[in-house]
Every structure is written in structure tokens, then in C-alpha cells.
């Protein structure tokens, strides 16, 4: 079984939850920009939540399934169609042999995740299948997907096979059949406000900058990629300049170079940095940030460490509950 890339579109890469344990050697974590959507895409097809999936960016990606395959699409709504018919998101979908899935362009968000039952059969590099393009490692041959790439699929488990058979029975004239239920999780990845904890150097910024940061709007500039987003808006100035020793940064760290324009560090961020950090995005809101595209506007809302932790724990609990519910689900659709 395999998937063939007909057109890569703007950017399509294989990602999982990232490469952990090697930041001490300077190796970037990488992984899905919107890891929540990736986890959920996997859960829907019966995979382990950290299995590798295809991250599609904005538009133009198109791929063909060599055999009957169980898939799911989550994340941003990039108008996915299979052989011309729109496919619904956030649910398992049976896709017929030779069907072509393509993405027409952004409706909401900018990154979609395609999980396939069984996952992709590609080697792990440093415990991860994530593609790190700059380091030329992981994913499919250490690079973004290209026209003609044939990515082999791993064997699906019994849960996936059961779901696949059940959906196949629903198949009519289309070349796919989607479950008639779905999990309404798009609310976790769509939004205009991102909750932020004060960063380690927050107090070093001028009182004006502190106010501006939480009260004014910022725009995502075109100089934005998987490594980080550069924002434009009010220029955030320090009370007085100072030198900082490089230390670790994290997914969602908001740092401000001397020009005053904040940079949000994301999946492919460097491991360490030396710019003052005004904020840190709460983990639960990282998907919202990752789904923003150049030109979009964003606001930061302050939350406390305690609130961020509560949200994190609640989200994980909800994820576990849904996972259990899906495993117990009777796959009968007659």
C-alpha cells in the first residue's frame, strides 16, 4: 500500500510530534505545527496519536491512493476534495483505490493533516519521522514531498480494518465514504486570540510596550515559516538595552529583537536564543497560532501559569476520553 504525490503544492511534509531528547545537541524538535490536529487525525484512523502524517500547507497539494485506504483530515479547512467532491474534516473517511485527494485552498486556517490507517512506513531518524528540511533529516528522504514520490504505508491494525470495512459498506457513487459523525474540535484550532503567559524578561520592557503587547493587534508578516512568525504592530521597546546569555527557548516563545518587532518561535525553532522574551504562548493555544497565515491579525490575552496548566490538563483529559470513546465505538453503520 502506498500514497503517491501528484503535486506537492506550496509545501507538504511528513511530520509527527517531533524529535525529543536531542535539543542538548542543538537538534531542533520540529514536528507538526498544529500537533493537536495531528494527534487527533491519528486517533480517528486508529493509529497511535504520535504516528507520522502529512502536513499540507495552504494549497495545491494533491495525492493518490494506490489501494482502498482509511484516512482522516484535520486541522485547517483547506477545501479538500476527492475526485471533485468535497470531503468533510475531523472524521474517518474510506477512500477508494486510485482516488485523488487535493486541496483547493484556505477556507479556515492554513495547515491540514492527513493521517492514514497504519501510518507511513519510513525510517525513524533520532526517534522521529518528522521532516527537518534545513537539517535534511527525517520524513521522506529528509526533504519536502515532491511530485512522483511514492510513500509506502505501514500495516493497519484491527481497529482500523473494522472501521474501514464499516465505512466501505456506506460507499455509493462517490470514490469515498465519510463517517456521518464527527468530533467538533475545530474550535481548538481556529481563533483570533491567543493566550499568553508573561515571558521571563516581560518586566524589562517599557510600561508602554507591556500595555501595547496585551492591548493592541499584531499582524503575521510574509516572513513567517515553520521556524517562526515575524509579527508587525507596535514596536515593543525595552526600558533600557541589556545583554542576555543564550538559553533554551520553547514552542510558542515570543522574543523581541532590538527592532521591536516580535517573533513567535514555532515547530522548527532553534533550540536556544538570546533575545528578550516578552511572552510564552499557552500550549493549548499553539494550534491557533500555527493555523494563522501571513496577513492574519492576532491579539494576545494574558493568562497565569496556573490557568495555563489547568487548561493543559483539561485538554489532555478530554483527549483521553475521546480516545477511549472511539475505541469502544461500535463500527456498525447499517
Amino acid at each position: 500500500m502506498s500514497v503517491q504525490i501528484i503535486r506537492p503544492g506550496l509545501l507538504a511534509t511528513i511530520q509527527d510530534l517531533g524529535r525529543y531528547g536531542f535539543q542538548q545537541y542543538g537538534v531542533v524538535v520540529g514536528g507538526a505545527m498544529d500537533s493537536f490536529s495531528l494527534r487527533f487525525a491519528n486517533v480517528l484512523v486508529g493509529n497511535e496519536e504520535g504516528e507520522a502524517a502529512i502536513e499540507v500547507t495552504m494549497m495545491g497539494t494533491s495525492l493518490q491512493f494506490e489501494e482502498d485506504t482509511l484516512i482522516s483530515i484535520t486541522g485547517g479547512n483547506l477545501n479538500p476534495v476527492i475526485d471533485g467532491s468535497p470531503v468533510p474534516l475531523w472524521r474517518p473517511v474510506f477512500v477508494k483505490k486510485d482516488a485523488v485527494l487535493s486541496f483547493a485552498g484556505c477556507k479556515v486556517g492554513c495547515r491540514a493533516y492527513i493521517a492514514v490507517a497504519g501510518g507511513f512506513s519510513i525510517p525513524n531518524v533520532m526517534n522521529s519521522k518528522s521532516t527537518y528540511i534545513r537539517g535534511e533529516i527525517g520524513g521522506f528522504k529528509g526533504r519536502a514531498l515532491k511530485e512522483g514520490d511514492v510513500i509506502p504505508l505501514a500495516e493497519e491494525n484491527s481497529f482500523s480494518m473494522k472501521a474501514k470495512r464499516a465505512l466501505q459498506k456506506k460507499l455509493k457513487h462517490n470514490s469515498f465514504a465519510a463517517a456521518d459523525w464527527y468530533v467538533p474540535f475545530e474550535r481548538y484550532v481556529n481563533g483570533k486570540v491567543v493566550r499568553v503567559l508573561k515571558g521571563a524578561e516581560f518586566e524589562e520592557f517599557s510600561e508602554l510596550a507591556q500595555k501595547q503587547f496585551f492591548e493592541q493587534e499584531f499582524q503575521i508578516t510574509p516572513h513567517s515559516d515553520r521556524m517562526g512568525y515575524r509579527l508587525s504592530g507596535p514596536s515593543l521597546q525595552l526600558k533600557r538595552p541589556f545583554e542576555l546569555l543564550s538559553e533554551a527557548v520553547a514552542n510558542g516563545t515570543i522574543q523581541v529583537p532590538s527592532d521591536g518587532n516580535p517573533i513567535v518561535l514555532l515547530a522548527d525553532r532553534q533550540t536556544t536564543g538570546g533575545y528578550p522574551r516578552i511572552g510564552q504562548i499557552a500550549t493549548v493555544d499553539l494550534p491557533i497560532m500555527a493555523q494563522m497565515k501571513p496577513g492574519d491579525h492576532i491579539r494576545f490575552k494574558e493568562i497565569t501559569l496556573h490557568e495555563a496548566e489547568q487548561l493543559y490538563i483539561e485538554r489532555e483529559k478530554e483527549m483521553k476520553q475521546i480516545q477511549t470513546a472511539l475505541l469502544l465505538k461500535e463500527w456498525s453503520f447499517e
Binding site: 542543538g26 535534511e136 538559553e247 533554551a248 533550540t271
Partner: protein
């Protein structure tokens, strides 16, 4: 033991899923030794929910999963941050700095100047030296590796001679070839992978600093001593052929 020094150590959150232990605010081997000791201890005795740690010049950042920490150690009223903080405080109380061992010396062959070091002339001119003098000064020092960060295998080195400092380029190059040896201010370093960058490039090494297929993906580790050894273009090419 370093119990009486505990009050000088700061712990601060880096979001709700990481905590930075800061031993100081300057670059020196005394502080860096504590950084190394804590990072080593965490490798040997981690805790439930521990993901990884990133040692830097004067700090160690510990990444963890708040959900797992809370499940494993959670008592009413205690947050996962407080739990991890308490675990780290206990570790710091019994932290033993490693015995002063002889550091590993790593020779890095460098072909200076020419196409490999397009900014060698600039660095020489900026410091009123000849290019040979720059090469001699750069290759005769010993550089301690303080940390690996920024890019895979990228070493932050101390010990650059003040005589060959040079400001960063006014605008960074969009792509720098892997192996490039550069100077930025009072720092020198080697770019392990091709990346954009603003350092003044004085040479290039054929040696791979990032080795993704090895157990230790970085050639260098914090605590090593780096020495640069000048080689000719022919030797550079021979080295590359040998590796292939």
C-alpha cells in the same frame, strides 16, 4: 555539595511545560560546571513526565508534560510547576560536580581564506593585521565548548583572541555552506548545516559537526576543547574524498 549556594539559583517558568534553572548571568567555567552537573544528573535520574533538558551557558531548561507530572505526583493544591520545582530543588541539594577530568581535545581542520573564507580579508583589515596573522591567531588558541545550541551540532566557543574580533555582517547571507568557520563579535564557531547567517566567514572545515546517523549526533559536547588546524585546499579535498 552546594547547599549553601542554593539561594543564588533561580527557577523560572518557560510556559507551563518547562522550567529554567539559572545558576548565574555570566559565562564562566565555574557556573558552566554546575550546568553540566545538573544536566548529567537529569540523564541518570529523571522523573515521571520529564521530556528532556537543554543545558546552556549558565542555565538548564527542563521540559516536562504537566499532565503526567500531575498524575504521578499530584497532591491537592500543588501545581505541576511546584512539583517539578521541588524535585529539582532536591536534586540541587545533592548535586555533585563532576571530578575535574581532562577535557577531550578535538582538532578541527580548517582551510582558511579563498572561496572558503570570503570575509578573511575583512577581518584582517578591520583589525589592521595580515590574513596570515589572523589565521595564526585563530589556529593557535584553545576554545572551550560552553554549549551546543542554535543549530544541530553548533558549538558556542569561548576563547577567541580579542585581536581578531569582528562585527557581524550588516545584513546576513541567505545561505552559508555547511562547515563554514566564522567570527561574530568576540565569538567564533562552525556552521554544521547550511543555514542563513550573518557571521564573517574566514574558512571552512571538511569535518561533519552534525552526524544524524550516529548515537551522538553532535561531534562536539559541552566541556570539549576545540583546536583549529590550518589545511590546504588539496588537504581539504583529500579529506572529503576519504570520508566519501
Amino acid at each position: 555539595m552546594m547547599k549553601k549556594k542554593l539561594e543564588e539559583i533561580q527557577m523560572k517558568p518557560l510556559g507551563e511545560a518547562a522550567i529554567t534553572v539559572q545558576f548565574g548571568t555570566e559565562i564562566n567555567s565555574f557556573i558552566n560546571k554546575k550546568v553540566k552537573a545538573l544536566a548529567t544528573k537529569l540523564q541518570h535520574e529523571s522523573f515521571s513526565g520529564f521530556i528532556e533538558c537543554t543545558p546552556a551557558f549558565a542555565s538548564v531548561t527542563i521540559f516536562f508534560d504537566p499532565f503526567i507530572v500531575k498524575q504521578a505526583y499530584g497532591k491537592i493544591g500543588k501545581s505541576s510547576f511546584q512539583i517539578v520545582q521541588a524535585i529539582l530543588e532536591r536534586m540541587l541539594e545533592t548535586l555533585v560536580e563532576e571530578e575535574e577530568s581532562t577535557p577531550r581535545i578535538v582538532d578541527i581542520p580548517v582551510c582558511y581564506g579563498g572561496d572558503f573564507g570570503p570575509d578573511l580579508d575583512f577581518v584582517a583589515g578591520h583589525n589592521h593585521l595580515s590574513t596570515d596573522e589572523v589565521i595564526h591567531l585563530h589556529a593557535s588558541a584553545e576554545y572551550p565548548v560552553y554549549m551546543i545550541g542554535f543549530a544541530p551540532g553548533f558549538p558556542y566557543l569561548g576563547g577567541l583572541s580579542e585581536k581578531i574580533n569582528a562585527p557581524r555582517r550588516p545584513s546576513p547571507r541567505t545561505s552559508i555552506p555547511a562547515g563554514s568557520v566564522g567570527i561574530a563579535g568576540s565569538q567564533t564557531g562552525v556552521y554544521p548545516i547550511s543555514t542563513p547567517g550573518g557571521w564573517q566567514l574566514i574558512g571552512r572545515t571538511p569535518m561533519a559537526l552534525f552526524r544524524p546517523d550516529r548515537d551522538l549526533p553532535s561531534l562536539l559536547s559541552a566541556g570539549d576543547i576545540v583546536k583549529f588546524v590550518p589545511i590546504t585546499v588539496e588537504e581539504f579535498e583529500q579529506y572529503q574524498e576519504r570520508v566519501q
